[in-house]
């Protein structure tokens, strides 16, 4: 029995004022699986991704719980060791490819950085690997692209470059944080297709953060629906759309626009559903605080 790729157990994170931003989150990502985290802004979906990558903002403190990467509890490692492990086994596909790339450096060196600095590859090997990956993400003329500066590439091209960089070191887990949100729909489709293809070929697990249930339906096998830092429902993706269990999930699906069925979509979320959730969360927070004295 092999350990899951990522296993988060009972993870709670708090701000300085002891308010919880993640509320006893538990989720498991099996090897080679795409697990979507979906929720509205402020639901904590990116926060979970950041916790896994060890890049939480300084104002957020993990108060409780464990994050296991292939069986190793990251919170029990010394920070240097932890960073090394995270650097070697995970990668990030960020939302905004323009801010994620250094504007004053050429594409090539930015892509080989990780291979050379973290994995200790020599420059030649790293360059060859990058060339190969650029080819895999179907970039024409990779020799030219590695010499470009980020502003010389289109949004879709930049996202391809970052996908290539993410897969280059063969990570076990990729955190994709809204990787298509800044793109036009037609480009989004190409990029989603590319991520799915690369993910299948490399057998990489992906924690896919998105606010778009449409994207969830197309890319993921498992999904966790978040509200206010709490997972309200976790399910196999087909099951979630066939029979959503939680009222909030149902409301979210009904609110999502669908041009094929304009009257049944874009339904405002019933305030009662949100009020009930808020009450539930407040009660859980009281219990949690009491249990910690």
């Amino acid at each position: 029995m092999t350990a899951p790729c990522l296993e988060i157990t009972n993870l709670s994170a708090t701000l300085a004022n002891r308010m919880r931003v993640l509320r006893s989150v538990s989720l498991t990502v099996e090897p080679g699986e795409v697990h979507a985290l979906v929720g509205e802004s402020g639901a904590g979906k990116s926060m979970i991704g950041k916790a896994v990558l060890g890049v939480l903002p300084l104002s957020v403190r993990v108060a409780e719980g464990s994050i296991r990467l292939e069986g190793t509890d990251l919170r029990r490692l010394w920070s240097r060791k932890r960073r090394k492990l995270i650097g070697a086994r995970t990668a990030l596909i960020p939302q905004d490819p323009l801010t994620a790339l250094n504007p004053s450096r050429r594409i090539g060196p930015q892509m080989t950085d990780r291979l050379i600095k973290i994995l200790g590859w020599d420059g030649k090997r790293a360059a060859a690997r990058i060339r190969q990956l650029l080819d895999e993400v179907r970039i024409r003329e990779p020799e030219r692209v590695v010499r470009c500066y980020p502003h010389e590439l289109s949004g879709g091209m930049r996202q391809r470059v970052l996908i290539a960089a993410a897969f280059a070191a063969e990570p076990r887990l990729i955190v994709a944080d809204e990787p298509t949100t800044a793109l036009d729909v037609t480009v989004q489709k190409q990029i989603l297709r590319l991520i799915a293809e690369m993910q299948r070929e490399h057998g990489t697990a992906i924690l896919f953060v998105t606010h778009d249930l449409g994207v969830v339906a197309k890319i993921s096998q498992k999904v966790s629906v978040l509200y206010a830092g709490k997972i309200v429902e976790e399910a196999d993706t087909p099951a979630l759309f066939a029979a959503p269990q939680h009222p909030y999930t149902r409301a979210l699906i009904a609110a999502t626009p669908r041009y094929t069925d304009p009257l049944a979509s874009l339904k405002p979320v019933n305030e009662a559903v949100l009020a009930e959730l808020a009450a539930e969360i407040a009660a859980a927070d009281l219990d949690w605080r009491a249990s910690r004295g």
């Binding site: 293809e197 339906a217 759309f241 626009p257 669908r258 874009l266």
Partner: protein, 278 residues
């Protein structure tokens, strides 16, 4: 046949291309809109859809004369407004209002909500019973009167966009330009704002140009739709017809690219696209 509120013929807009500007010297002009012919029927919501860079916002901004057309004619309510000087345009401006994409940056952080909504009224010389008018405008968008004393940072994203709508409608304009007004909002809030705009457009008999990149939203809200690509109109017509029988390949491609919240294993499959070049 309803008289169109806007009639546009041969509209061209050229802007300076600052990315190609030499260090000393003038930036070259680049044509954003390449000769558009269309009408916006009165008292009806028309959707303008396209991908980024297609010129949909440029089109909107030239309708409300925030941009100068380089060629073509714009008739508003029967009058040619293409080359009206600003002084003559001013009385028309109260009928040409805008709701912006980002309600955060379009609301002044140092002024109260009441003073923000009162601004267009004062600008147009309306000074009597301002308080009542502001209260009325807030009520119209479903906000309590007490919100008038607040500042933008005390409001949620959806509430801020309601204020943006209240400000645009304070003068009961004939025309409202809504440029991507829900793209920064969460889906649950988006649905509320769209329902609000739909109701108000109907009640107040507004003519709305609704710019969006999201065909699903357009389908729900708009009677007519104009599909744009690289500064040209690809296809336009009644929303029902266009969605039932899209004529143009590009429209079909746009529709097929929308990820619907439904399981469809074939969606990501299909033919692999050709290589992208820089």
């Amino acid at each position: 046949m309803v008289e169109p509120l806007f009639k546009v013929r041969g509209l061209k807009v050229a802007l300076l291309d600052m990315t190609k500007k030499p260090l000393l010297g003038r930036a070259p002009k680049v044509e954003i809109l390449k000769g558009l012919d269309f009408e916006l029927p009165a008292r009806s919501v028309t959707g303008i859809v396209g991908e980024s860079g297609s010129g949909k916002s440029t089109l909107g901004r030239s309708l409300v004369r925030l941009l100068e057309p380089s060629a073509g004619t714009i008739w508003f309510d029967g009058d040619d407004i293409t080359n009206l000087p600003e002084a003559e345009l001013k009385p028309l401006r109260r009928n040409l209002q805008m709701i912006f994409q980002d309600p955060m940056s379009s609301l002044n952080p140092r002024r109260t909500i009441a003073s923000i909504i009162a601004a267009p009224l004062k600008q147009n010389g309306i000074t009597d019973s301002l308080k009542e008018r502001v209260a009325e405008a807030l009520k119209r968008v479903g906000l309590p009167e007490s919100f008038g004393g607040r500042y933008r940072h005390e409001l949620s994203g959806g509430q801020r966009q309601r204020v943006g709508i209240a400000r645009a409608l304070a003068l009961s304009p004939k025309f409202v330009l809504a440029d991507e007004i829900v793209s920064g909002l969460d889906v649950s809030t988006q649905a509320q704002i769209l329902a609000l705009l739909e109701r108000l457009a109907d009640e107040m008999g507004l003519t709305v140009a609704f710019i969006s990149h999201d065909l699903s939203v357009i389908r729900r809200l708009c009677k007519q739709v104009i599909v744009m690509r690289s500064g040209q109109i690809v296809e336009s017509g009644r929303t029902d017809n266009l969605f039932a029988r899209p004529n143009h390949d590009y429209t079909r491609e746009l529709l097929a690219a929308i990820p619907l919240p439904e399981i469809d294993p074939g969606w990501l499959g299909g033919r692999t696209e050709t290589k992208a070049s820089a």
